[in-house]
């Protein structure tokens, strides 16, 4: 009789990631990445951004396809709603980053995930962007992420996955810590 051992598979190649970590520890300069987006204004509050190339591992890299993203504002802002608002893209980025982290950490820890759903909310007082009250900031003043995770693991193990994914998340870091940003006109 053969006992079937279920392979843990969250679709994350942990071996490759650990290999990359090892290789980069020998050549830390290759770990410098530059991510890029470009954006064309369309009309009104509607713009279209594209993402295609980036730099990393010491050379130029390409996504498999060119991705395009419409950004706009909803009709309550007197706009035409051709796409999500830019701040919603920030929530999208945070969700994608934390969820990828949960999957990677689960794979590394041998935890099978059955489903992972994150719900995100960001609070904002638009008196800031409307210039009505200088004491109100423009951006989010609170962001909440709630994960619903079905996994072959205890509640504590699932909580530890979520904690570790925050610890290693780029977007979580970008949102919680100040970042130098320069904006210039060419």
């Amino acid at each position: 009789m053969q006992t079937a051992i279920r392979e843990i598979d969250n679709g994350v190649n942990v071996t490759a990631l650990l290999g990359a970590r090892e290789a980069l520890s020998q050549a830390p300069e290759a770990a410098r990445f530059t991510w890029r987006a470009s954006c064309d204004w369309v009309m009104g509050t509607h713009s279209r951004a594209t993402v295609e190339g980036f730099h990393g591992l010491g050379e130029e890299q390409q996504h498999k396809t060119r991705f395009a993203f419409d950004t706009d504002h909803p009709e309550v802002f007197a706009s035409e709603d051709h796409g999500p608002t830019p701040v919603e893209y920030v929530l999208v980025g945070l969700a994608g980053c934390l969820s990828a982290g949960v999957a990677a950490v689960a794979q590394h820890r041998g935890i099978q995930l059955n489903s992972v759903r994150a719900r995100l909310e960001g609070d904002m007082d638009i008196q800031g962007i409307l210039g009505m009250d200088r004491d109100v900031r423009n951006g989010f003043d609170d962001v909440r992420v709630t994960f619903e995770i079905d996994a072959d693991a205890t509640r504590e193990e699932v909580e530890a996955l979520v904690a570790q994914s925050q610890k290693r998340s780029a977007v979580y870091d970008i949102l919680t810590n100040p970042t130098h940003v320069s904006v210039q006109v060419k």
């Binding site: 909580e159 979580y172 810590n177 100040p178």
Partner: protein
């Protein structure tokens, strides 16, 4: 000979088999084992025995480990208060008595200026003398230089700054608010002491390790010892780099000390903020990750207690221990403060409890990695005959504790003795098989000639 430059009095040059740098617990423990193995050695100590304990700690500090745990090779605590926690003068007495019992060959007041590789060993230059030796043991500690973030330089001059190494007592500080940066053992103890002394304390909290002082009726150090956590070896853990970088756990010694955690400090009125991450003009910026760091520490504490409970159960100890308990999660402010303007005067002093790093500026041997840390495998440094002792998790989780240095010193002394013996055999072969050996090497090969003064 090498220093016979014109106009300069040559330093006396001595030869010894092993130079140990530092006469704290690590250097003394190594001296014990070297002495037992009959290996001639000297301990070069910049100040006196136990110098850092003597001169670089605040007045109220007690050891984080109970007296019964304070042991060194061949010495156990035999005083009247095994469950007490030593003051710094008591630690110094403990080490000084140990050095006397060992008759350790300590050269006090001898600061090492450089260590270089030389033919067949090392050249150690101090202010006053030069030593030739086959092997060097670095036992100068891990906590030499305070680490302070670069933004410290940009703080307005109206704010006083000091590090935990320079802090002695609350009276040193100007009246007014204090920002304590760092939430390991030092940061928590200083925040507590200053808040009790009447300062309004804000504590900046990043990654931290939460531990109760006592658990199920026993000191937490008893648990960590008994359950084998302290004995976990460097080659058994997943990521030794990470294990070595862990901040020191939130603990305090004292007369019947209580648990000192973030909840205890909040209850006393200390304000918790996230990690200090930036300074924009006069405004300090704190990370929005406070809740994540606290949740992670709470989870890790729960996991540790699960491990300890499982160990107690399998050992059949449940009957003689109090029942398991779990501690309430860390309570956080509803809207954590993300920024503080130093211009408004609420913060008069910033106290940096942001950790230490070892000082290797004198080490002229290419064994440092790009982060300035020694490349070593369990204390065997990446250069033949060079060893290090007393760093966090050097060979075991307990390596940087007073009681943790014994096992490491014994194993490294064995390694060192084997290395010396191999070298002696090789030189003997070279002498008999070839004519490579010149008269100048003779003295070093003869054990009785060690430690002589030749200049």
């Amino acid at each position: 000979m090498s220093d016979a430059r014109p106009g300069r009095r040559p330093r006396p040059t001595r030869a010894v088999t092993v130079v140990v740098i530092g006469a704290g617990q690590a250097g003394l423990a190594m001296s014990h084992y070297l002495g037992r193995a009959g290996i001639e050695h000297v301990l070069l100590e910049r100040g006196e025995v136990g110098n850092a304990w003597r001169h670089e700690r605040w007045e109220s500090l007690r050891l984080l480990t109970p007296n019964w745990q304070c042991r060194l090779p061949g010495l156990r605590y035999a005083g009247p208060d095994p469950d007490g926690f030593m003051t710094m003068p008591q630690v110094v007495d403990f080490l000084r008595d140990y050095a006397r019992r060992l008759s350790a060959p300590v050269q006090a007041g001898t600061t090492v200026r450089s260590v270089r590789q030389a033919d067949d060993g090392y050249r150690v230059i101090t202010e006053r003398s030069e030593w030739r030796c086959r092997a060097v043991v670095i036992a100068s500690g891990a906590f030499n230089l305070p680490v302070v973030p670069p933004l410290a330089k940009a703080l307005p001059a109206s704010v006083d700054q000091l590090t935990a190494r320079d802090y002695r007592h609350p009276g040193q500080l100007a009246p007014g608010g204090v920002l304590v940066v760092g939430a390991s053992a030092s940061g928590l103890q200083l925040a507590d002491e200053l808040q009790r002394a009447g300062h309004a304390v804000t504590l900046s909290v990043g990654e931290h390790v939460r531990l109760p002082r006592r658990y199920r009726g026993r000191d937490i150090q008893w648990w960590l010892d008994a359950a084998g956590i302290h004995d976990q070896r460097f080659d058994e853990v997943d990521d030794i780099g990470r294990a070595r970088r862990l901040p020191s756990p939130q603990l305090a010694g004292g007369d019947a000390p209580a648990t000192l955690d973030l909840n205890a400090l909040s209850a006393r009125g200390v304000r918790l903020v996230g990690r200090l991450v930036g300074l924009h003009e006069t405004r300090l910026q704190f990370s929005g990750s406070l809740s994540a760091h606290c949740a992670a520490a709470d989870l890790k504490l729960g996991r540790l207690l699960d491990t300890l409970d499982a160990w107690a159960r399998t050992r059949g100890l449940d009957g003689c221990l109090e029942p398991p308990q779990r501690f309430p999660p860390t309570r956080l402010p509803d809207a954590p403060c993300l920024g503080l303007d130093l211009a408004d005067g609420g913060i008069r002093t910033v106290l940096w409890a942001t950790g230490y790093r070892p000082d290797y500026r004198w080490l002229q041997v290419p064994v440092l990695d790009r982060k300035g840390q020694l490349r070593h495998h369990g204390g065997v440094v990446d250069a033949p005959g060079l060893y290090v002792l007393g760093l966090p998790f050097l060979r075991r989780r307990k390596s940087s504790f007073i009681h943790g240095v014994d096992d490491d010193a014994r194993e490294l002394c064995d390694h060192l003795a084997a290395w010396l013996a191999r070298g002696q055999r090789q030189r003997a072969r070279a002498r008999h098989g070839t004519i490579l050996d010149g008269p100048s090497n003779k003295a070093e090969d003869s054990p009785i000639a060690h430690c002589h003064l030749d200049a």
